[in-house]
């Protein structure tokens, strides 16, 4: 399936290559570079590029292109999903997935890629199996290895590979047994000029950090599972149990994992936690434009809106912006025309605002479009859909685990059209 993999950095250098079948010359990447040149933005490179003898499927993450070379028919999502899984694994192993990190750990990267694919077909992609085969590099281990000569590579086949629960290894031991769950919801919305909502929906995930000894069997139940309209599970969740009782029953993987992602049914009205008052105008014939922006909290259930970040792509004709924020700091990049304003926390008594003027190219006609405003924010201790975890029970082990649950609401793709 996957013949070769090339890693290409932002400046267009191939800094790593790996072949699973016969070697494919790196000149095949020329077709990719052509596509890269044609694309105006790095994101605009088409994910699938046909060449006379091969097909290039690429994903862009952390400003690195992962280009897979394939030769014959294969579901493209199969390759794309796998490449993303590779990136996730690198991130898991090295903390970050940057060119420097990959170059520093090139041997581990090679060993990982060797285990993940055999003849181009995925072999082991579960993080806990990989971690038993190849230990993640830590400073301590590097030091110990150089002294004792021991290695990072496991000698036995990981038990998970053969069991019915491939995601969990056996013999896990912790002195502090703890299970933490984060319910994180994101609001995707498009707000139109007049402030009315064009489309809004809530997507959520339940991320877990489970550090429990032995083989615990957990059940997690919600107060209002009906809210969840469409769900996707980590493979550990027993689907039949969910179908029948709307309870999540699972033997958890060890460590961090995404238990569930869900979509809140669109019948429910979505509470929009912030509102924006804006007045962005350009006058005909003058080289000045006016810019006024005020943010305020709307339906926040009494919680504070934090880490607010406003960004906007101003029209090409804008030369500079001279603005005055009532709180926080703003930057304007005259080259990319990107305005970003780091607001911080919204104080309902004193609403943050950004006012001032923009200077336009003299003689140029006024831009006929208004910029879109993208907003990011966070609200702690609140799941905006109202989803609540009822209880978490553990079976199969005797000890009492420490349990914790955290809620958070974030802005996803939250746009205001002006």
């Amino acid at each position: 399936m996957i013949h070769s993999l090339f890693l290409i950095n932002a400046s267009g250098d191939i800094f790593l290559e790996k072949h699973w079948k016969s070697v494919v010359s790196r000149s095949v990447c020329d077709y990719f570079f052509e596509a890269l040149e044609r694309a105006t933005e790095p994101e605009n490179v088409p994910p699938v590029i046909p060449t006379p003898h091969h097909f290039l499927i690429n994903v862009l993450r952390h400003r690195i292109y992962f280009v897979a070379v394939i030769q014959s028919e294969v579901p493209p999502l199969f390759v794309i999903e796998f490449l993303h899984r590779v990136v996730d694994t690198f991130q898991d192993y090295f903390g970050v997935c940057t060119e420097a990190a990959i170059k520093d750990n090139v041997v581990v990267v090679y060993e990982l890629l060797e285990e993940m694919l055999d003849n181009g077909f995925p072999l082991a992609t579960e993080s806990n199996i990989l971690k038993e085969l190849i230990k993640p590099p830590t400073i301590l281990r590097t030091v110990v290895n150089t002294i004792t000569g021991s290695t990072n590579v496991g000698e036995q086949l990981p038990t998970g590979q053969l069991s019915v629960v491939p995601w969990r290894r056996t013999g896990v031991k912790y002195t502090n047994n703890e299970a933490y769950f984060d319910v994180v919801e994101e609001i995707d919305a498009i707000i139109d000029k007049s402030g009315s909502t064009i489309t809004a929906e809530i997507q959520g995930v339940v991320d877990a950090c489970v550090k429990l000894t032995g083989m615990p069997d957990l059940t997690l139940s919600f107060m209002n599972p009906r809210l969840l309209d469409d769900v996707s599970f980590h493979p550990c969740v027993r689907f039949k149990r969910w179908e029948a009782e709307r309870i999540l029953s699972f033997i958890p993987p060890d460590g961090n994992f995404r238990l569930l992602s869900y979509h809140v049914s669109s019948q429910n009205l979505v509470a929009i936690p912030v509102y924006v008052k804006h007045n962005i105008s350009f006058r005909e014939g003058s080289s000045q434009g006016r810019f006024e922006l005020t943010l305020g909290p709307k339906q926040t259930m009494g919680k504070a809106v934090e880490s607010v970040l406003v960004s906007s792509q101003l029209p090409r004709g804008v030369l500079n912006a001279n603005l005055n924020p009532s709180q926080g700091t703003y930057t304007f990049d005259p080259v990319t025309k990107l305005l970003s304003w780091d607001v911080g926390k919204i104080n309902p008594q004193k609403l943050p605002s950004l006012k001032g003027s923009m200077s336009l190219q003299t003689g140029a006609s006024k831009p006929d479009e208004n910029p879109t405003i993208n907003i990011q924010f966070k609200i702690q201790q609140l799941a905006i859909s109202g989803l609540k975890v009822n209880r978490l029970d553990m079976y199969g082990e005797k000890y009492k685990p420490f349990k914790g649950i955290k809620y958070m609401t974030k802005a996803g793709k939250f746009q205001v059209r002006t």
């Binding site: 046909p50 014959s72 028919e73 796998f82 992609t125 000698e155 489309t199 929906e201």
Partner: protein
């Protein structure tokens, strides 16, 4: 061209590799791998590296493997040195070492070792470790690509591995199947049901491959669920709607879905909830290609969910949705807002969303969509704005109600400042005007006014064409435009020049008085143009319109030729023809056939024999009248799947059987319809031995018997006395019995049921599932089983269930009355052993009785036997039921007299009650 520096560095590495120190060697290998990763050539080090292939250090060994696989092809002779090491490792007791040896051995692309590889693969295919077998499945593809002549042998191995029951192997072997022999559909038949049932437990990558394979398989084996008269015409929407009509009218021939077809659909459905986007897409395409149309809607939500994923995933999913939305608007219409474009989307995502929105547009939602489009037109991304204008044009032609609105909107755009927007509008307006030109002469006039400001050649050409085509509507303006064009002719682009010539010719024919000289002038300019197309066109036009002696008959028809009414262009989706490819494939994404694409066949008109999928279990080769008995693979899966699910699984299988209403005669599986008899759950292993001509008859009549004897036909002979090996139950009842009613229990109700799972606390215990439910609105606390159990039964107590607070304390005494059958464990033994044990009367107490059965039984002699042991003491219980018209002879042999008589009584009641 190696630099001297590089050479010296290689020398240095060579020295390190030849040193005695492990750590130095390892360091050298790490640096070499670094070189390989950068794509630098390190092939001269081959001899030095290959020496270390037998190293004890596992990391060093792995790195040598990496090197070997990379360079073996270039250094074939030297690579052979390493082969013996692998052959030795293939015998290693450690499965990881065996597997990795096979992986590397099969990755060395050296043709000489093909026989060795073949041997190793054959051996590994029968390895005890499923992990090694999985590696063998991968090796099959590698060997096939190295030497396609081995195909026949490899197919044998594939056939063997397809029978493998391990979930680990399934995905890999199907992958090998797809690569080596995708046309050998016959290999799948026997494994079809097993694959369907295993699917949920296979690792996610294997799932994708299996689902794609099963999609192809199903299209060759089942008849269309879209009804045979609903001709499957993918290309025309009309045919689809027609068929809907017909379906309503013609209900005479009911379509019955093959149970195996249903099995596939049912078992893939949960995978829509997978976290792996490739799996979700694979299931979606399976439903698209296989499911009845009304069930298709379940994939919508999952596909829309994928739109939240990474950019690349979005791209592929949107493409597939675009194809789907052409044929079935209704599927995605409720989710229209999910396709609204955000300013942060990449351009190719934006255009795809636009495409889908256009496809979804209908009379009801067009106003919403057009309002949305208005914002897009103002986008800073001009390429996207241009695409929006085309989309508006599409909507306008497809939905006649809004044509005028769209046209007016587009005319407004003509005064836009941006070139591309204006140009695109002109082109689209041109197309729209062709549908109804007479009413729009003022638009044409307006465009003529704008003509001077427009510089984009395509737009200029479009306007000129409009002028020419409808010059009769604008008799005053057209000659003036031609005059201006004559002045600038030499500076125009080729495409514009062609249209100028065109315009001149048309005006010459309609209004020769004003334009004769102008036309002559333009034709002369064209005659000496640099572009031969233009010269050619000029010459042609001159001959056509200017009458002279040579032109002959054609010029008479010049007017007809040039001014012929032209059909309006059809604006249609770029995804219109994509549905010739299977969804979710690379070929679909590229809209051209990729190598290795496997065509999805059309439904067969008549379903091929469905019995090929039945799995045969062969009787032990004994007396001549032994009969092969079909047992459906469901029973296998029931015992295979994880214990927590097995009960519900087998239950649902049974349900579905009765749902789908399959033909009883063909279906040998008993259908438990009257499930309220006490003894119905006794598990019985029956060895059938009856004369073959009566077989079918017997099977029908046996149905009555089997109502309460869920049976499994087994043929394995076990040494009985040595060990009474318990086998797993075939059927686990779902019904629970009441232990404590909520009225008597003051709100606490309790139910119990026998799970028929081996008890984890002791071999001599029967496991019981107790369900306690609180029917009050208060919390109940500290529920436990008290010590006072009168009968001396040994109960493994569970810990007190701590709940919230109440103050009252209550105690209820309850009793559990198990049917005798629940205290038995089924065991497997051969018929011979059975008779032997039965004859062994000095240890067993026997019971015999003759019961008149009140049902007509058509066969002469049929004996059903059941062997079991009691859970508590492990003593043997043998039951045989001989049905003789009109009586039945029940023989029970056991040491336990009480149990024997109880069992006899219950079987008797069951037999008498199970009459028709």
């Amino acid at each position: 061209m190696l630099s001297p520096w590089f050479l010296c560095r290689n020398e240095d590495l060579k020295e390190m590799l030849e040193s005695n120190k492990e750590s130095l060697k390892l360091e050298a290998m790490k640096r070499i791998v670094g070189l390989i990763a950068k794509g630098k050539n390190a092939s001269e080090l081959f001899p030095a590296v290959v020496k270390n292939v037998a190293s004890k250090n596992i990391e060093l060994k792995k790195l040598v493997y990496v090197y070997l696989v990379r360079y073996a092809e270039e250094q074939q002779d030297l690579a052979l040195l390493s082969i013996s090491t692998f052959q030795r490792a293939l015998k290693d007791p450690n499965q990881l070492i065996r597997a990795s040896a096979l992986r590397v051995l099969s990755s060395i692309r050296v043709p000489i070792i093909v026989p060795i590889m073949m041997l190793a693969i054959k051996e590994a295919a029968t390895d005890l470790s499923p992990y090694v077998r999985k590696t063998a499945a991968h090796a099959i593809q590698k060997l096939f690509s190295l030497d396609p002549d081995q195909k026949e042998h490899l197919i044998e191995v594939i056939e063997k591995l397809l029978k493998d029951k391990s979930t680990l192997v399934a995905g890999s072997v199907v992958m090998a199947f797809e690569e080596v022999c995708p046309d050998r559909i016959d290999l799948i038949h026997k494994n079809y049901r097993k694959l369907c049932n295993l699917l949920v437990d296979v690792e996610e990558w294997g799932q994708v491959v299996i689902i794609h394979m099963l999609t192809r398989y199903a299209r060759t084996q089942f008849v269309s669920p879209w009804r045979e008269d609903a001709v499957f015409d993918e290309n025309s929407e009309k045919a689809f709607y027609d068929s809907e009509e017909e379906r309503r009218v013609d209900q005479s021939k009911p379509y019955i879905m093959d149970p195996d077809h249903r099995l596939l659909l049912r078992n893939t459905k949960p995978l829509l909830q997978s976290r792996n986007t490739a799996v979700v897409m694979a299931v979606s395409q399976l439903y698209w290609h296989l499911s009845p149309k009304h069930e298709l809607s379940i994939i919508t939500k999952s596909l829309v969910r994928l739109l939240r994923s990474h950019r690349e995933v979005q791209y592929i999913v949107l493409q597939n949705i675009a194809t789907m939305s052409i044929q079935r608007k209704g599927m995605f219409e409720p989710f229209m807002k999910s396709f609204y474009v955000r300013s942060t989307d990449a351009t190719h995502i934006k255009t795809l969303k636009l495409e889908i929105l256009t496809n979804l547009a209908n009379e009801a939602n067009i106003s919403t969509i057009l309002r949305e489009f208005q914002t897009y037109v103002k986008s800073q991304d001009k390429a996207f704005a241009a695409a929006t204008i085309q989309a508006i044009g599409c909507c306008a032609t497809n939905i006649s109600e809004v044509t005028d609105t769209c046209l007016n909107g587009l005319v407004l755009l003509l005064s836009n400042r941006d070139e591309t927007v204006v140009a695109e509008s002109v082109v689209v307006i041109k197309k729209l005007l062709q549908t109804q030109p007479s009413q729009h002469s003022d638009i044409i006039k307006h465009m003529a006014k704008l003509f001077d400001n427009i510089t984009v050649p395509m737009a200029r050409a479009s306007i000129l064409w409009l002028m020419g085509e409808y010059c009769e509507h604008v008799p005053k303006i057209a000659p003036d435009v031609l005059r201006k064009m004559a002045k600038t002719f030499t500076d125009e682009e080729d495409i514009v020049k062609l249209q100028i010539v065109n315009l001149a010719a048309k005006l010459y024919l309609t209004n020769s008085k004003q334009t004769k000289l102008l036309t002559q002038y333009i034709l002369n300019l064209g005659k000496y143009d640099q572009n031969y197309d233009i010269r050619d066109r000029t010459r042609f036009i001159r001959q056509l319109i200017v009458p002279n002696e040579k032109s002959g008959a054609l010029s008479k028809y010049a007017r007809r030729i040039l001014m012929a009414p032209k059909p309006a262009p059809v604006l249609q989706s770029a995804f219109k023809d994509r549905d010739r490819f299977q969804l979710g494939t690379l070929s679909h994404t590229l809209n051209s056939q990729a190598s290795g694409y496997l065509e999805l066949s059309d439904w067969p008109a008549v379903a091929p024999d469905q019995s090929v999928r039945n799995v045969e279990v062969v009787e032990p080769q004994k007396n001549g009248n032994a009969v092969k008995v079909e047992s459906r693979s469901e029973s296998e899966s029931g015992s295979e799947s994880s214990s927590s699910e097995s009960s519900s699984e087998s239950r649902s299988e049974l349900d579905s059987d009765s749902d789908s209403g399959t033909d009883q005669k063909k279906n040998t599986k008993p259908k438990p319809k009257t499930l309220n008899i006490m003894t119905k759950y006794i598990l019985i292993h029956i060895v059938l031995s009856i004369s073959s001509p009566f077989f079918v008859n017997c099977m029908c009549s046996l149905l009555h018997l089997c109502v309460f004897l869920a049976c499994q036909f087994d043929a394995v002979s076990w040494p009985v006395r040595v060990s009474l090996q318990a086998s797993s139950p075939v059927f686990v009842p779902e019904t629970s019995h009441e232990l404590l009613h909520r009225m008597t229990g003051k709100g606490l109700s309790a139910q119990y049921r026998f799970t028929r799972q081996p008890c984890i606390y002791g071999n001599s215990m029967v496991s019981l599932q107790l369900t306690l439910s609180n029917r009050t609105d208060q919390a109940l606390e500290n529920i436990h089983i008290s010590e006072k159990s009168s009968t001396g039964q040994n109960i493994h107590r569970f810990n007190a269930i701590g709940e919230l607070n109440t103050t009252k304390e209550d105690e209820f005494s309850v009793s559990i009355q198990p049917a005798v059958g629940e205290l038995l464990l089924p065991i497997t033994m051969s018929e011979a052993d059975f008779t032997k044990e039965q004859g062994n009367t000095n240890t067993s107490y026997w019971h015999a009785d003759e019961t008149p059965t009140n049902q007509p039984i058509h066969f002469s002699a049929c004996i059903s036997r059941f062997a079991g042991k009691t859970v508590s003491s492990g003593s043997l219980v043998l039951v045989s039921v001989a049905l003789k018209d009109p009586d039945a002879m029940i023989t029970i042999n056991t040491e336990k007299t009480v149990m024997g008589s109880m069992l006899l009584r219950q079987v008797k009641t069951a037999l008498t009650n199970s009459g028709p």
